[in-house]
Each structure stands twice: as C-alpha cells, then as structure tokens.
Subunit: 202 residues, 2 copies
DNA sequence: TCTTGATTTGACCATCTGGTCAAACTCACG
DNA sequence: CGTGAGTTTGACCAGATGGTCAAATCAAGA
C-alpha cells in the first residue's frame, strides 16, 4: 500500500483508473456481482497491483460511493430558498434528469446499493441525506405556506422527483425495450416539466 | 429430478417452499449475490435436495421470474379502454402502489434484474411487455384524442406511474431512512392521487 | 550513475460456490 | 407387509474468487 505522503503521479493515475473501472463494473453488476479481476482488467492493472492501491474490494466500493455522494446530492444542495420557487424546482428536476442521462453509471451504482438494502451506505442515508432532505423539505414547506406553490407532502414531492428522473438511468433497458429507437430523454424532459408545472401551480 | 408425471404432494410442497425462499433471497441480494445454500437453508432443504427439484440456480431464478411476470403485469392488463379514463388510470396507480406495499420482494426482484441490464429477461421485455405497453399506450392516446384526459406522451405517462409507485418498494430503505417512523404509503397514496388528477385533468 | 523507495507481478492459498453422485431412506400402493 | 418409485443426504469435485507475499522492476533525486 502506498505511504500516505503526497500521492505520486503514478498513484494519481492508477487510483483514478481503478475508480473509473470500478464504477463501470460495480454499476453494471452490483457489489457481489463484480469481481476484483474484472475491475483490474478494466483498469489495465494486474490484480495484485490493484490491491496495492486499495486494500480490498470493499475499500474500492466505499471510496467510490463516498466520492460520488457529493456529486449526487449537489443539485438538491443547490435548491435555493431565495430563488423563484417554480423555477428552482423545475431546474432541480432538469438537473436530475440530465444526470440520469449523463451519469447513468453513478445512478445505477446507488440504485444497486439501495435496492439491496444499502448495507454499505446506511449511515450516509440516515445522516447526511436525511439532514439535507429535511432542510430542503422545510424550504418547500415555506414556499407552500407563502402560497407560491401548491400544498403537497414535501417529502413525497422530493421522492417523486428522484423516482421520475432516476428511473430513466436505473431502468434504462426496460425503457429502451419499450421505446425502441426513440430517445427516452427527448420525451421525458417535456413530460416531467409539464408534470411539475401542473402539479405545483398554486 | 422428479419425473414429469402429476406432481406428488411432496413435490408441490417443496417446489413452493423453494420458490418462496428464492424470492426472499434473490430479491434481497440479486442473482449473483444469492447462493444456492442460502436458498436451500431458507427453504429448509439440503442443497442436493434442492437441486433435485430444480436443475440449477438459474432454473430457479427463471421459474420465479416467469411465474411472477403475469402477476406483475396484471394491473396494466386490466386497464380497461371502455372504463372511465380518469378512474381507470387512478385505479391503476393505486393498484401499483398497493403492490409496492404488499409485494415489495417481487418489485425488488424485477428491480435487481433491470438495474443490471436484465440479462435474463431481456426477451420478455422487448416481446410481451413491449406489446402490452404499446396496446395500452394506444388506449391512452384514444382517451387523449377524445379530450377525456390531458394530452401527454403516453409512454412516459406509463413510465411515470411505474417510477412513482415502484420507488417505494425498490428504494424502501432510503425512503424509510428519510421518513423515520412515518409510514411511507400513508403519504404516498394521496400524493400520487393528487398528482395524476392534476396532471390528467383535460 | 547510484541508491532507495515506489511499483509491478507470478505463484500461491483458503474459502466459497454451483453442481454431482452413489448410497440410504421413505412413502404409497398392491 | 413388500417393493419399486420417489426423496434425501454426506461426501466430494472443479472452478471462481478475494487476498497474500517475496522477488523483480522501475523512477527520480542526490
């Protein structure tokens, strides 16, 4: 294992390659379904070499998840209490949908973990995520109190945005099996936009 | 392997026990994450005994999925072109949400499969499911043409119902981590009901 | 260039896992 | 009962998998 001095050029490169490869493999097969050999091959390293940079498969997975959590929650973080309510929410849904389109591996990585009971990120859920959502739910409630948007259960409103947007990344195969050649996001964007306009209109 | 005569009492009992156990294990850990030993233990059988009833792990999984597919699609099947549009759709969403509540293992079984690219049910998706959805999308389009419900992309409308309802089963841990003690379905039902009323109102 | 720490690897190991098999046991029915 | 089909299991196997280690190779600063 590399000493904990400043990382060398090679360390940076290889660590990045491993995490990139791990994202591919874990998101496609889940934790249990991924093998260290697979990740090593994808990263262009031998297995022992990979294990020189990360002490175990679990450690790679953990590093990956915690490294991506911030990215994943950024759009919700950016929901601004001082912005225009309708615009803020619509822009949040658009960013989330865009992330489904551009970062589907990340979405599936979390989906894989969640659908199996999130054994490795349960803490992050009930700590960081919960706190963030509590905070933003209050923002939503504030807007409802001011009559700026329709009164709805704020938590379920947030869940609905997650469900609608992540569905396109997580269940991509199903969506494409049904739509055929049509680009899912082409239709999804205006649909979701319309949905929230109608739903939130006071 | 039992001969293909009429199944004996014991065969019925054990096959059922195996499928029940397999549903528990596969839905919680995915195909790769589940082990034959685990399923056997859960079914109260030894591993060789289990493999006397099903030739392989894969066979159990297949039997389970194809046996449940019908159940899973029944609510959409029942969407009646001759019924009242708004009532038909709302009752479909209610049934789907109820299934998330009462059959979460089934939902997660499919979710696990889909999120990993559905390697074992790709055919069912692009054949049976696609055909069913095509058919029901036409029903929806008909209602839109008649001005009975708002004009929307019919496929994305269906996706939205799947996403919103299955979210509560598939990502149960996340939902509960955020809601704490509150029953997710308590709030979800009126939320989803309101959502589709507002969305579909012509 | 030389040295020293960083990097890489072939060989190896223990465990897990899906699956097999022959032998033993049980059950239903004549 | 007795018997043959149906059922169960302990022992076993081959391959996959996560992980280790000593030895070899490489890179960069003195």
């Amino acid at each position: 294992m590399p000493k904990d001095r400043a990382p060398t050029r090679i360390q940076k490169k290889n660590r990045a390659a491993i995490l990139e490869a791990a994202l591919n493999v874990f998101s496609a097969h889940g934790f249990r379904g991924a093998t260290v050999d697979q990740i090593a091959a994808e990263a262009g390293l031998s297995k022992p070499n990979l294990l020189y940079y990360f002490p175990s498969k679990e450690a790679i997975h953990t590093a990956l998840l915690s490294g991506l959590l911030e990215t994943w929650l950024a759009p919700l973080h950016d929901l601004d209490a001082d912005g225009d309510p309708m615009e803020e929410i619509l822009s949040y849904t658009r960013r989330k949908l865009q992330m489904s389109r551009e970062l589907p591996r990340e979405s599936r990585l979390f989906a894989n973990e969640l659908v199996q009971g999130a054994p490795r990120i349960h803490d992050a859920l009930s700590q960081d995520l919960r706190q963030l959502v509590d905070e933003k739910a209050q923002v939503l409630t504030g807007w409802m109190d001011q009559g700026k948007i329709a009164r709805l259960h704020p938590y379920h409103l947030i869940f609905s945005i997650w469900a609608l947007t992540q569905h396109y990344a997580d269940f991509d195969v199903q969506v494409r099996a049904i739509l055929g050649d049509e680009d899912p996001f082409e239709g999804a964007e205006p649909f979701i936009d319309t949905l929230y306009r109608k739903l939130l209109e006071p």
